[in-house]
Symmetry: C2
Subunit: 271 residues, 2 copies
């Protein structure tokens, strides 16, 4: 894919703080970035906004809101934190606020999923008022106990249906290659998603992945047919920035400039 579409999800260069990640984008002529809230908080929102504006960077997403599932958490505090996430995404003019919908903390999966639905429904008016797109990111089923009870694109879209909204104003979804590539329903559900695709993330699935969280592969090193997936997402109408999001102990240990050069090359060759 043309590197003009590339967005650097900053967790790919996890050792860098926000100013350094912005500088890496400038150095490597990358036009978009996805920001994580902990890194935003570390420099302050105003400074983060100023940094991306002066670098002329487009913000493809803010990662992440959500985490609605803790039965012991105060729902008002969870909502308030999510509203702050919306405000940050608004200030940064991000294409979307990514929602990671929370892990399963007890054995009641139905209740956890209901909490997710209710949490998004409560957040939605604030997001609409702020002009921020919410995007549910289904995460790989292996992450249900640590990250997300939303595990498939079908489930995310069913949730979006349930939450309603006019066409163009619906809750969006993120298609992350790593999380959804294995799904036998992938083709149909991406087509169904259509304009609800609010983000497309790439990395790769290593044949013998050794860790459930931090062993994502560089594009081209694994089993995902990314050109096929990119074609499906394009056919569905998505034309936005494509985030490279690689959570990997291996790549985090390398020099960020080397990693950035490589991911840019692999993006052009394998995405």
């Amino acid at each position: 894919m043309d590197a003009a579409r590339l967005s650097l999800n900053q967790i790919t260069l996890n050792s860098l703080d926000l100013p350094a990640a912005v500088a890496a984008c400038e150095r490597h002529e990358i036009g978009a970035i996805a920001l994580w809230r902990d890194k935003i908080a570390a420099v302050g929102l105003d400074r983060a906004v100023q940094l991306v504006r002066s670098a002329g960077l487009h913000v493809s997403s803010v990662c992440r809101g959500g985490m609605f599932t803790d039965p012991a958490a105060d729902p008002a505090a969870v909502l308030e934190d999510n509203r702050r996430a919306v405000d940050e995404a608004a200030a940064l003019q991000a294409d979307a606020l990514v929602l990671v919908c929370g892990p399963l903390l007890d054995r009641d999966l139905a209740a956890a999923r209901a909490r997710v639905r209710d949490g998004i429904a409560e957040l939605l008016p604030h997001a609409r008022a702020a002009g921020v797109r919410l995007a549910i990111e289904p995460l790989h089923p292996m992450m249900i106990g640590v990250r997300s009870v939303v595990s498939t694109l079908r489930q995310a879209l069913d949730l979006s249906d349930e939450l309603g909204g006019d066409p163009g104003d619906e809750v969006g979804v993120v298609v992350d290659a790593y999380h959804v590539w294995w799904d036998p329903e992938l083709e149909g559900q991406i087509a169904r998603a259509g304009t609800r695709i609010a983000g497309y993330h790439v990395s790769d699935w290593l044949p013998e992945t050794s860790d459930l969280l931090l062993d994502r592969g560089m594009m081209g090193d694994g089993l995902i047919d990314l050109p096929h997936l990119s074609g499906l997402v394009a056919d569905a109408g998505f034309t936005g920035p494509v985030e490279v999001e690689i959570l990997s102990r291996r790549w985090w240990a390398e020099d960020p400039d080397d990693v950035t050069r490589l991911l840019r090359k692999r993006f052009e060759e394998f995405v």
Copy 2:
């Protein structure tokens, strides 16, 4: 669940050979066992048959046929090995031959899945002639690169539909709690499976599982609502033995008698 329903999948006591696993069943008053082909081969089929018969053990399944996906393998050799697996299941009067449908070895998922369909279709006449039920076991999506391109119950049932057969003579499926519990479509697909459920396996999903293959939990130690799942499987009409199948470095390191006592207790309490 009543321990009268318990079947010991012998990989749960992986350090034991077949005679020792049979003896453990006798010692702990377990009436059924699931056998692995490498352990059968180690003593020879005739001896395996004699051992389970003289112990009065019912064989709930033979693990495993399948592995159709290697593009470099000779299809005739793969078919021949699967036919031998069918013959072993027939000799042992097993309820089913479990099919693990093979990992993805390149980036062509559609081709690998087609190979699975064709492989089962070719094997089916031999299985029917031998009176052996084939049972597709969908494995957790995280195992696609090492074990199975069949990842969901819906996909296994679609495959069963495609392979045809009269009611009662269709290709069956295995519902393994560990592999399918996360699935948002679980309820509907188990109901759809109905009499095609040829096996029900239990273990648990640990909240922070640390390994993609060998970190299954003991029932009651994890996040799976097994009584709910057992209810769904019962409502679908399944009345057969319920296999305890725990692939776990942790439990493999413990004394097999201690593990068997515990799993029997947990089976009664948590399944």
